[in-house]
């Protein structure tokens, strides 16, 4: 079954890229044993089909002392015949300040993550751009004080390799 093998190879390549997007086609080929040209084809196909959305670095900005503020905002909305969840979410998501938008269960409808330069910036953005949307009933803002884990990556290291150099 050529199709099955294809899917398996694709998943393996994408898993490796997901962990380290900087691997070259050649390196992925060496790890997987899949021909370099085939790796290239699989990756380019995934890019075309938007299975791979983007390649980015996870940066610990706090470490660099960069001044920035992240807020998590719970948003409750009123739905109308003209505006459903998707419409409202898209409208919020298109602002560049907005990092993530998720439809969630519970008391609120959306969870919106906003990133800005200062507390003032973020507060202004919320009060001017989100709270004022006609569908928004109310918001509940949480400013992030410290991040410990981001995208599955720990932002602290407290473990080292303590193994002996030679073990039979």
């Amino acid at each position: 079954m050529v199709g099955m093998e294809d899917t398996k190879a694709l998943i393996e390549v994408l898993k490796i890229l997901e962990d380290n997007a900087r691997y070259t086609f050649r390196e992925i080929s060496e790890i997987t044993g899949i021909k370099e040209s085939e790796v290239k084809r699989l990756v380019e196909k995934s890019e075309e089909e938007k299975a791979i959305l983007k390649y980015k670095a996870i940066i610990d900005w706090e470490k660099l002392g960069e001044e920035f503020v992240v807020a998590v905002i719970d948003v409750r909305v009123n739905l109308t015949r003209e505006k459903n969840y998707d419409d409202i979410a898209k409208r919020i998501a298109k602002f560049p300040e907005v990092h993530a938008v998720r439809l969630i269960s519970g008391e609120y409808d959306f969870q919106v993550v906003v990133k800005g330069r200062s507390l003032k910036d973020v507060s202004l953005f919320i009060s001017e751009k989100i709270s004022t949307l006609p569908e928004v009933r109310d918001t509940n803002t949480h400013f992030v004080l410290k991040t410990y884990k981001e995208e599955g990556v720990l932002l602290f290291s407290d473990e080292e390799d303590r193994r002996l150099a030679i073990v039979p």
């Binding site: 898993k15 060496e30 997987t32 390799d161 150099a165 039979p168």
Partner: protein, 386 residues
Amino acid sequence: MRENADRIRINRKLLEIKPSGIRKFFDLILGREDVISLGVGEPDFPTPWRIREEMIYSLEKGITSYTSNYGIEELRAEISRYYEKFGFSPHPDNVVITAGVSEGFDLALRAVINPGDFVLIPDPCYVSYSPLSILCGARVVSIPTPPEFRLNYELIMEYSRIIEPKVLILNYPANPTGVSYSKKELEEIADAVVENDMIVISDEIYSELSYKFPHRSFASLEGMEDRTIVLNGFSKSFAMTGMRVGYVIAPQDLLDAVLKIHQYSMLCAPVTSQIGAIEALRNGEDELETMKSEYLRRRNFFVRKIGEYLETRKPEGAFYAFPSIRETGMSSEEFAEKLLMEKNVAVVPGNAFGESGEGFIRCAYAVSMDKLREAAERIIEFVSEL
């Protein structure tokens, strides 16, 4: 005071045991910087957090006492269920929890060996098999397995032609060669076991790290359950080496014998580790699969890369590659020492695992992909410059 110059303070059997060949290497590495070690026969992953967290919680609750000699009941039940994946399901009563396979191996030998009994051991093999057999008073018969490193019916029959061996030691997937056996191969070995009326001590510690075919326990083969002492543990599969927790699975009479020694020597395996082991079997499957697929990637990468320069068989399991260095004209020790001095890469000379390991080096690929790549490049550089 009586004076007796001839009196030997040390157990005479210990004089028959050669000091470990690895020790010397260990000293060479000390003090060197930037060494990438492919000499480490244990996972580079720390114990999965959920397992550690469960052990921490048990300590908070004050669970610090002895357990039953057999080990915690729930753990024995989990192991009984778990072993189904390797082809047979032992009754929980046939399981004893030990302080790792190392203890289990010692118990198994002492349970069955009378002084003078013959023990068949494949060569090369893990470093403790022969010394512990000698300590029991066994006569060790090493079966050289190169170049395939596979035991088979003919080899076993050839080496038992003029003796009556009592025990056969098996280890698959194997340290240091990475060799494992298909069901058919195991069945042929089982034929030789029956013909020689032997007991098998089957060290299956790398059972989870079998890449070519699913691991089959030796006890799962027809007629073998009653002849086999299965040894396994959590060190390699769940990255719990320092926790020292493993188990013995054996038929009733052998298990009783094993327990008799265990209860007077070890008493019980560390309780915290046993609790971690329960969590490992109940909820550790995902972490295990993640580690396994990472080892598989590294194996493929390393063998392909090194294989162009040194003849290397594709290991079917464990996390070791065992390349031949014969073409370099050097001995295993020379090669390993020079490689360390010139390129700062540590490997273990094959002869540390028995005479038949001469001409080979053991490379453990339980290091991160980046380090493995760097190590492979340094080895290739070293070989190319010869």
